[in-house]
């Protein structure tokens, strides 16, 4: 039984006008959200924009709405995993065929959305395309601070080893999924720091993902979700989740599958 379906059994989703959705998680990003939404409208006019306001205490929601986005306001901060999954549940219920995650802080350049879409649709077997900062050796983009790059490299090695595919940027939140990926993430998405685990989930469910090179920008406002005290927790939590994920059974996901809750999985 799907939690959202259980809440509203007579729920009749509006038919999606566009088949594509841009999911923009935003927590106190009033300074950057207007330009992010405007850029998505400019560079990817086929995409509906859904801003998931993750319990912001500033004007993020009203500015997003004024910029022409659909806005879902979470009553309190769920963290990036919960916010992004809200977007996937929305995409699943409204019948979107493709969903792309774009951070609300302006680090992700919406110019790459058409490239991601082109790559996703170029091969039928592909279920997810991630924008990687490290795939090409251009050095002018923003590639995170040195200590973070060490962590990213460790995760990249680990994920590449497990999936037996070259993964250069497993922590990138700029990624696009097709309908199968939407169904999977609407059903199950990692809680804290979800990006690395999400790639491994795709792999474990026998879904294909790949990367294309992108350049990212330094954030224009707000603060990172990963503060200075948390990198240790980040590393340990993700390593534990990756390790335990190896021992989970993962059925293949098909569109229209009945979602499984934690109780049913036992």
């Amino acid at each position: 039984m799907h939690p959202v379906k259980r809440l509203c059994p007579n729920y009749d989703p509006r038919p999606a006008l566009n088949r594509y959705l841009a999911i923009v998680p935003a927590h106190n990003e009033a300074g950057a959200i207007t330009s992010t939404v405007a850029e998505i409208h400019t560079f990817a006019p086929d995409f509906d924009v859904l801003v998931v306001d993750d319990g912001s205490t500033d004007a993020t929601a009203s500015r997003a709405e004024a910029a022409g986005a659909q806005v879902v306001c979470l009553p309190f901060n769920l963290g990036i995993g919960g916010a992004v999954q809200t977007g996937y549940v929305y995409a699943q219920e409204h019948g979107y065929q493709v969903a792309v995650q774009i951070d609300g802080d302006g680090q992700h350049d919406p110019r790459y959305i058409p490239d991601l879409l082109h790559r996703l649709q170029s091969e039928e077997r592909l279920n997810m395309v991630t924008g990687s900062r490290f795939l090409e050796s251009h050095t002018d983009g923003h590639r995170s601070s040195a200590p973070r790059r060490v962590g990213i490299t460790i995760f990249a090695r680990l994920v590449s080893m497990i999936t037996r595919r070259r993964v250069t940027d497993p922590t990138s939140g700029l990624r696009m999924t097709n309908r199968v990926g939407i169904e999977l993430f609407a059903r199950d998405y990692p809680h804290d720091y979800p990006e690395v685990e999400a790639i491994l989930m795709m792999h474990a469910h026998r879904l294909e993902s790949c990367e294309i090179p992108v350049r990212m920008r330094p954030r224009t406002s707000g603060v990172s979700a990963i503060s200075s005290t948390q990198p240790v927790y980040y590393m340990v939590k993700v390593l534990l989740a990756v390790f335990i994920g190896l021992f989970r059974s993962h059925p293949t996901v098909e569109p229209g599958d009945t979602p499984i809750s934690a109780e049913h999985a036992l």
Partner: protein, 145 residues
């Protein structure tokens, strides 16, 4: 002595495996598993390396090593309890916010339904009152509450 040590190792290892299995089944979130994993690992190390407890006790000035174990265990349990109190406080606060939001939303839906009914009565079309269709879910929710 060797016999007791094997039992101690088996219990600590079993506890460690239990925590890992609960995380695997998604019954326990990683966030809450980490503290348990650290404590069971400490237990495991203490039971494997039995000399450690004695040296730890003498370093702390405790003549009876099991007392040192109790002191450490008490400290760990205290930290776990504070951790859970924090988690419960956060959950009750979030629960309160959810209940408030739901109540306000119910009220808003109720108002909009009444508004719709008035409008359709005035115009004589739209979702008629004699309709065989069941009332929308949100309306039933408001009526039963």
């Amino acid at each position: 002595m060797a016999h007791q040590r094997i039992i101690a190792i088996a219990i600590s290892a079993g506890l460690l495996l239990l925590i890992l299995e609960l995380v695997r089944r998604k019954r326990l979130m990683e966030r809450y598993a980490l503290l348990w994993l650290v404590s069971t690992l400490v237990l495991l190390v203490l039971s494997v390396w039995s000399g450690l407890l004695s040296s730890l006790a003498s370093a702390l000035g405790i003549s009876y090593p099991p007392s040192a174990l109790f002191a450490v265990a008490f400290g760990v349990v205290l930290i776990l309890l504070v951790h859970f109190s924090l988690a419960v406080s956060r959950l009750s606060d979030q629960n309160k916010v959810l209940a408030q939001r739901l109540g306000i939303l119910q009220r808003r839906v109720h108002e909009q339904n009444e508004h719709l009914e008035r409008l359709s009565k005035r115009v004589g079309i739209g979702p008629g009152l004699e309709s065989d269709e069941p009332a929308p879910y949100t309306e039933r929710l408001t009526r039963t509450s």
